[in-house]
Symmetry: C2
């Protein structure tokens, strides 16, 4: 198997050869006077006048109806940190490739020369008219929360920060199947989440929304609880809805009798002794990438029954690409204004359902599963009225 370093070399060579990964191509060639006159002047004037008068028809007469902006400020690129606008561009192009390949969505990368939340919100709003949806990407916490929330409120098109919700949806999908494997009820499980960034918060919230009552979240300072000294901002909000038993302390205490341990923090943050303290048939999702919180073999030796990572070279890869293309496909088709929590949960169930008979080594489908995004899109559209 190729190593990460090998892939880095291969990727550099491939990118240089291709000179980027996307082309913008016409649906109709300009091969006759007739084509020029209908695609451009004078004919296009009638289309512009029509769309200007009847703005909602823009989805039928222009590219808006099938186009999503993949927007980043480059402040949290993959696990590499703050690489800035240009540093994020290769990843955003990659996202757009995935959008097209998996769900026939025309996605275009917009990388921003600002990391100021007000300026990001302002800029996205100003460029929004031509897009049917906004996929926010690789924007660091806590700014990502404010930016997403404001854009959701202020724009008439769906907005989703993939690092939060894409991850959360796939984690929920994995847990639905993992619960079946260990024969426990999802709702009754105790879930401990190590990491309270963009993904950690979103995972906690979707699990609670899906009916799991006992969710405990830890940041670097330990368990998040309402009485913790100096707790503020979104962590204070998180404290209110998680940790119903008022736990305090560190991971050592938190993992006692936990059914599920989810790492969204960094390399090596989970030790075997933590897994050993968990309940029987422990489920461990170690999602730091490329180096997980604990390697699958170590987790299993410590008693874990089901293990997932963010890597493609171990079983059960938590890959956002399982979620975001189908989610936006469904949202565009149904012309929804917002991607709701219910849609996200339905999407997670749809992803889970793509594994016919879950076993420990296969609770999450591969990104190359045929019909996956279509299934997710269908789930999103279900019960959704057109605007």
């Amino acid at each position: 198997m190729a190593t990460k370093k090998d892939y880095g070399k291969k990727a550099l060579a491939a990118h240089k050869k291709l000179r980027g990964k996307l082309s913008v191509v016409p649906k109709q060639k300009l091969d006759s006077v007739d084509a020029w006159s209908t695609m451009y002047t004078p004919g296009v004037g009638a289309v512009s006048s029509h769309v200007a008068k009847k703005e909602k028809d823009a989805r039928q007469y222009t590219m808006k109806g099938n186009t999503v902006a993949v927007v980043s400020d480059g402040s949290a690129v993959l696990g590499l940190g703050n690489l800035g606008a240009l540093g994020s561009l290769p990843v955003m192009e990659g996202k757009c490739v995935i959008f097209k390949e998996m769900a026939d969505v025309d996605a275009f990368p917009i990388v921003l020369d600002t990391q100021n939340p007000d300026e990001i919100v302002e800029t996205v709003k100003r460029i929004a008219p031509g897009f049917g949806g906004i996929n926010l990407e690789d924007i660091a916490a806590p700014h990502c929360f404010e930016i997403e929330e404001r854009l959701k409120k202020e724009l008439p098109i769906p907005v989703m920060h993939d690092d939060q919700h894409g991850t959360a949806i796939v984690v929920l999908a994995g847990l639905i199947n993992a619960a079946k494997v260990v024969k426990k009820k999802l709702e009754g499980m105790k879930v401990v989440i190590v990491g309270a960034g963009a993904a950690g918060r979103a995972i906690a919230l979707i699990l609670i929304k899906a009916g799991i009552k006992n969710v405990v979240v830890l940041d670097r300072a330990g368990v998040i609880h309402t009485k913790r000294k100096g707790i503020s901002g979104y962590k204070k909000e998180l404290a209110k809805v998680t940790n119903p038993n008022g736990l305090s302390g560190g991971l050592n205490t938190a993992v006692e009798d936990a059914d599920v341990l989810i790492g969204v923090s960094g390399p090596g943050k989970i030790a075997q002794m933590h897994v050993e303290k968990m309940a029987d048939d422990a489920i461990v999702f170690a999602l730091a990438n490329p180096v997980p919180e604990i390697f699958p073999d170590d987790a299993k030796r410590a008693g874990a029954k089901v293990v997932a990572t963010g890597r493609s070279d171990y079983p059960n890869q938590v890959n956002n690409a399982l979620a975001f293309p189908g989610i936006f496909r469904g949202a565009l088709d149904a012309e929804v204004r917002d991607i709701t929590d219910d849609m996200k949960i339905r999407a997670a169930k749809a992803i889970a359902s793509m594994v016919k008979k879950p076993i420990a080594a296969k609770i999450i489908p591969s990104v190359m599963t045929k019909g996956l995004s279509a299934k997710v899109a269908k789930a999103v559209k279900q019960k959704t009225r057109r605007r």
Copy 2:
């Protein structure tokens, strides 16, 4: 021949069927684990890190090197006026189609939900990192002058407002050949321009730059001259460099002994009596679209030898598509920071040279002339050092 109304109907039907004119497509399919791992994680991380460190390599490793944003605020869409962002989208998509078809440039429309010049400049600067050039389009005068000037100064990539310079370049190309047809020296001709908007100003400036000394511009109030009461802003600047003989009054006076009369104003603004007062072998460019300042037959009956319009159904169409795709192709290839006046004049000469033997009925090549954009690109690149 189909009428404008027929083309409107056809265009509406075609646009609805296509649902917009552009697709964003991957250069490489995600058809194997290997493709996923080089185009996306883990391989793409090496590309992001490289580009973040060595920003100028972004042109080689990302789509930036071949991508242009076609930006509009929808304030002056074709001859239809202020249709706003969505109303401008069909036209901007059309421009992007032309970019790809004529010059293999990947162009993407950005339509803005603001018509405030400060906000437009700010927004374009913030989204600029992913683009190799900015094509401004259908932005009304006088805002367009300030917006273009500031962006040219503040961005490290070429910026061109096509309604100004695209038109000016093609007009100069046409005049180069028209001068040959009437056997007059370009530099010695008296040129009268009716209309002092975006195109009128740019035409005046490029003609002067190309060596024509006697250029007179009129707006609704008549001839522009330095002593005109209340003259201000860009018209005051224009007065300083045009009208060397200090003419005043209206079109009636201005056209006396003029060799060239260029209309960039509106339907019917030039009468036969104006053409009759011109010098022998008069050249008339009546560019208002679709209804010109004077129809070709009327101009000819009044003594015009060479006539051009903006329409495709008369000889000699002044069509910006002759200029902008090749201009940006050359600018991207040579990685220039700015599209200079010299480049524009070289582009005009290149366009003119595509008509081997100019005659009155053919001074401007067709947009479907093979090799045209490549020739323009080559002219732009000539003597241009890579940055």
